[in-house]
Symmetry: C2
Subunit: 577 residues, 2 copies
């Protein structure tokens, strides 16, 4: 029924048919995600809500903005993407996130938390300016609702003098359970105790900002949702409404219902590699044992960042602030002013939210905060909004910041040991996982690189990070068959550069390799280093060219983007001839 | 009395003496700011509050965190900086903002809005972890209170399980009058109508987050403030408190009281130059006349950005969202999805807050939003937290973004005309003001540079932006006396580079000049351009080295940092010999 469903068919369905449709969607999501990886339990929870929204509203005339986008699968299946759905998260396939390029039923691209209310307001305001008439809906989970952007958007609702429907889908979870007072308030609104609930409603925070609040309803009750949305659609003609619904994360798939955090994101990949996050967790526990100043801060990703055990062991020295990356950064900076030694662990893509606070709060004050930048480099199936390929670029120009990139998990451990005594801002960036150990593992000295392979003196490969070093080794293997021996250097500090080693390089060709954007990254620092030296060197940068990187497998993407051992070897061979 | 006041003397003063002291402070602030420039009316409003805080609390044992820092002058005068106060905002002098390096009575460096509650919470949490015992106070104006960071911090108060005092100094102004629902709520709390006020208090938003709310009091009433703070100090032993006070911006200086926006910041500099902001305002009005899609968005700086008249003329197409840079960016992106043509005008330093939204919302969706980046380059007397020297670095690696830098105000106008038909993300960065017009003024073509002076073929100076071009012209003048003629190029697009022109440069020496950080800026793109070409070129970058730039005059700082016509000419002369 779902496969070829038209809007007209959907609109004319009976409740019974819609319920059957919901089951079909649920099955399709489950089977696809178990195969391809993706966000399972959040999407399962939003099935009935998505069916009801598509039944009641007139998309694409009306507009729907998702927050983060971990709830958009059912909407995709209902809007023409059933047949292609088996390509979910694959190269060239259906995106795991809303994507305007993919369908006219996707209205706003998302990936980072808290943007939906602002985006819905902008779309509604544009509608008003253009004198058009349609409904604008933002759908947000309670996890994203912690983000400061929500408050900024709320604050301007009356100012913008427009109308939107905001649906809070409250499942009590970000990826981890939702934390913070706003979450407690949402819970209060859902209280069984009628007196408490009434009290919370009468003094609705939302009313202060100009929203009419309506809740709490069971978002998995399809009939109820349809009635409610029809009613709210009428109210939208005159006012902005918050509809507060509660859904069960992982609904309909008992393993998910019981393990919502574990099944939030299902990885399609192999797990033969060691996760850098595990090394972070265990090393930080060891360090914290000896050093009482060490504290760990996360923004709603404690488990994925490898810090669950640390949090269990040192609850008084651990803070998960929810999806509040800016606040987390300032907490670290301010704790450091008091002599503590904070570690802020975060995915590269989400660190982008902290850019200003890294500049002003951490680095302009030269405070000893360590940024543990996980999922750096191409991150794969989540696509454009989640690739961690900009961190070296936006971090490298920040004064006072030291930037380290480990060659493997063991070196990552050594870098963490190094960080413990390092009394200034430090960022360590690493991919999700790695497989190999390279060379020996000496103590880390700030700004000192390591020569891994000695070459013939014509080609020096400066490789930054495990993925780059893997390529360099493989290229060296290919080249050895042609009797070409490049020097391979583990450029483990992007800042400061190892000037002694650079000065000693007599090779004509300097080749940089990194899992980061070309512009502003490691290679560009090397270009700058040699720019005014009249050495006649030729520098070739292997890095990502100036484009957003779509979804796909990590190796597949790297190869497509010109980061492969073959490309590296070919460049050298070409210059031999 | 103020000049040599000790903590002990202050603590033993009578109310009458303290009142006299306040007057002395007010006079000192006024006379100094009229001489040196600085933030006048916000500081005048906070005199009694600062005296009371210093009388009641035990600094530096207790800690005080300012938000933004436009209210810190009285605190500085009370804590050992009277004698040096005539150096306020001067090179090497007293900072206009709290600065830890300057005094043990400055606890946290600030400059951008909304950080104080997070910082106070971090300091308080560190205190708890270390088992120490002191009071932590955050002082915030109602303007900063709009920022999303506040919500993120509020949300984690209970989570952190700590105690702070938050003083909201409500003067109804950011720099412009404060906007938004939170401001309306603060006003409601100050209502004369007792029923309304009581209703607002009973349902205090702040209570939901775990603060005990106490207000509203006259913050200019010294006696009242002392009593209140003494009372609150007791309460702080068991709970977190919000103390809501109302002060008069510009208090005690009638011109300021009547013109708080105009006197928020007093410029110490000359005004013989043309402000780029004026050009923005008038050009955008002309464009908007013909193009109904054009909308303008600001974050609390409408007047300083030159957009007051635009806002008056097109109120329905203008939005000032308050100090909410992230939200402003998403509003622009989302309005653009509906076919509008948004211009987001913002200071370079504050654009840092929007980095993630520029990447994800504007550029990954390739939407035609124009960023008008004012106060780019060294901005002068506000110091480290306000220099606009990172924008080229953090923007240049963002895919899909075109970056333009006008050579003068007339070219800025032409770039705005260009922007009107440009259907992709665009950033135009410019300093506050300029004096000269350079060369002819042709129509702007994307990625095309302009040759201003033709040289001998040995030295090509690629100058980016008016300040760089001014230096290049002056250097050319110096060099002409030695019969050296460099080519001078107006590199008006940082992205895309003018590859045709670059390919045509046969000069051995390529010299880049820009009013931006060296790392990741214009020069680094040029280094990258030539890196793998075996042309034996020597490239010299004139830009700011990897350090935070302190306060000082613009020209003075540029010269100190090696950006001067002499340095440029000297480099060339050295290479001649």
């Amino acid at each position: 029924m779902l496969e070829n469903i038209t809007r007209a068919q959907l609109k004319s369905m009976t409740l019974k048919e819609l319920l059957a449709l919901s089951e079909e969607i649920r099955e399709k999501i489950t089977s696809t995600v178990l195969e391809n990886g993706g966000h399972l339990s959040s999407n399962l929870g939003a099935v009935e809500l998505s069916v009801a929204l598509n039944f009641v509203f007139d998309f694409p005339h009306d507009k729907l903005v998702f927050d983060v986008g971990h709830q958009c699968y059912a909407h995709k299946l209902l809007t023409g993407r059933y047949k292609a759905f088996n390509t979910l998260r694959k190269k060239g396939g259906i995106s795991g996130f809303p994507k305007r390029e993919e369908s006219e039923f996707d209205f706003y691209n998302v990936g980072h938390a808290g943007t939906s209310v602002s985006a819905a307001l902008g779309i509604a305001k544009a509608r008003d300016i253009k004198g058009e008439n349609f409904n604008v809906i933002a759908l947000i989970g309670d996890g994203s609702f912690n983000n400061g952007l929500i408050y900024e958007a709320f604050n301007s609702l009356r100012l913008l003098n427009t109308r939107i429907l905001l649906i809070i889908n409250d499942n009590g979870m970000s990826i981890a359970p939702t934390v913070g007072s706003m979450h407690e308030y949402l819970q209060l609104l859902s209280e069984n105790d009628e007196r408490k609930q009434k009290n919370a409603r009468n003094s609705s925070i939302f009313g202060r900002f100009g929203f009419a609040y309506d809740g709490v309803y069971d978002g998995n009750d399809l009939e109820k949702m349809i009635c409610k949305l029809q009613e709210v659609k009428e109210r939208l003609k005159t006012e902005s409404v918050i509809l507060h619904v509660v859904t069960k994360k992982g609904k309909g798939y008992s393993f998910c219902e019981e393990n919502p955090e574990m099944t939030h994101g299902i990885s399609g990949g192999n797990s033969a590699e060691t996760e850098y996050s595990q090394v972070l967790g265990s090393t930080l526990i060891n360090l914290a044992e000896k050093d009482e100043r060490i504290v760990a801060v996360t923004a709603a990703m404690t488990s994925s960042l490898g810090l669950s055990e640390f949090f269990g062991r040192y609850p008084e020295r651990s803070v998960d602030v929810g999806i509040c990356e800016e606040h987390a950064t300032i907490l670290c900076a301010s704790m450091a002013t008091q002599g503590l030694k904070p570690y802020y662990a975060v995915y590269s893509t989400f660190l982008q939210r902290s850019y200003d606070e890294i500049v002003i709060d951490i680095c302009s004050q030269n405070l000893p905060v360590t940024l543990c930048v996980d999922r750096a480099g191409v991150s794969g199936a989540d696509g454009e909004t989640h690739q961690g390929v900009f961190d070296l670029s936006f971090l490298s120009s920040v004064p006072n910041l030291t930037i380290a990139v480990p060659k493997d998990v063991k070196e990552f451990e050594n870098m963490l040991l190094f960080s413990a005594d390092f009394n200034a801002p430090l960022a360590i960036r690493y991919p999700r996982s790695g497989r190999n150990l390279y060379g020996s593992h000496d103590k880390i000295v700030c700004g000192k690189w390591e020569k891994l392979l000695s070459g013939d003196g014509k080609y020096a490969v400066l490789a930054c990070g495990e993925r780059a070093i893997t390529l360099a080794y493989k290229a060296a293997e290919i080249l050895s068959e042609k009797n070409i021996r490049p020097t391979v250097i583990n450029a483990r500090f992007v800042k400061p550069l190892d000037r002694d080693m650079l000065d000693g390089l007599n090779d004509k060709f300097i080749i940089t390799v990194e899992d980061n954007a070309l512009i502003g990254g490691f290679g560009s620092l090397i270009n700058g280093y040699f720019a005014d030296k009249n050495g006649g060197k030729i520098i070739k940068n292997f890095a990502y060219s100036d484009k957003f990187i779509p979804q796909g497998g990590v190796s597949e993407l790297m190869e497509d983007l010109g980061l492969s051992a073959d490309a590296l070897a070919d460049y050298i061979i070409e210059n031999e001839n």
